[in-house]
């Protein structure tokens, strides 16, 4: 099981919006071309980024812009914005009907849950430690290296 690609798509989108800031025509079609997916998916993900307050876009008007500095946007913000993991359900799918008549069955959930949440949090904490400034910086450096 994997966390859906909307997360990396979201990162790609924000990176590209900044990277191609000077250019015009950075519309959903252009982004879709860079990412290698359908433009509608781009617009869907951008909608989620907008709802999360990360980008501004306008119906009819091409392109969009970031509402915050790159260093104020973390991977976690995007992960959350696109709903990579359902808030209610969590990262780990627990079997749903442990038997309440069994001592193990009626306690395993409580016993395990704390640990599963901890593990999920540790992953999310790592995502908080990288900002989009890091990503754009590394991307530019990688592009620099190419021309040598």
């Amino acid at each position: 099981m994997q966390i859906g690609s909307k997360f990396t798509i979201g990162v790609h989108i924000i990176t590209a919006i900044d990277y191609f800031r000077e250019m015009d025509r950075v519309n959903s079609e252009f982004l879709a071309g860079s990412i290698g997916i359908n433009p509608v998916i781009v617009r869907t993900v951008i909608s989620q980024l907008r709802e999360a307050g990360l980008v501004r876009t306008q119906r009819g008007s091409s392109g969009g812009e970031l509402t915050k500095g790159l260093d104020e946007i973390t991977l976690y913000d995007i992960y959350k914005a696109v709903g990579s993991v359902d808030e209610e359900e969590g990262l780990f799918h627990f079997h749903e009907q442990p038997n309440p008549e069994c001592p193990v069955g009626r306690n395993i959930h409580t016993v395990l849950d704390r640990r599963l949440i901890d593990a999920q949090r540790a992953m999310e904490e790592k995502l908080r430690q990288t900002t989009l400034a890091d990503i754009v910086k590394d991307t530019k450096e990688a592009v620099e290296k190419e021309s040598k």
Copy 2:
């Protein structure tokens, strides 16, 4: 997206095998009853636990036993055993066709990957920190509390 329930099922199985060690007839049907799933799923998961060297079972002969001490089995061992996350693919699904003709497209993968792997590892590291001895101990304590 969620990590499949085979993981928590695996934890439940090992916990129950130990918890009901004294009893006989801890077969796949009994376990299925405790977990609330189909016995075939139990046998499938047990097969994976066996292949990972965590339990011993025998065709035709009811029940099974652990091959290690509970304190030598971590949540991570079970997570790995049941293949919660594909080794090749990783936890995060990356969009598969970023455009190599775009500077962002051809570098985003390399730039992001390291961070995604780090995040996944942090989660897995947490899973390594809990042993099945912890789980069984907590379960027994929870059962104790019930009778008060």
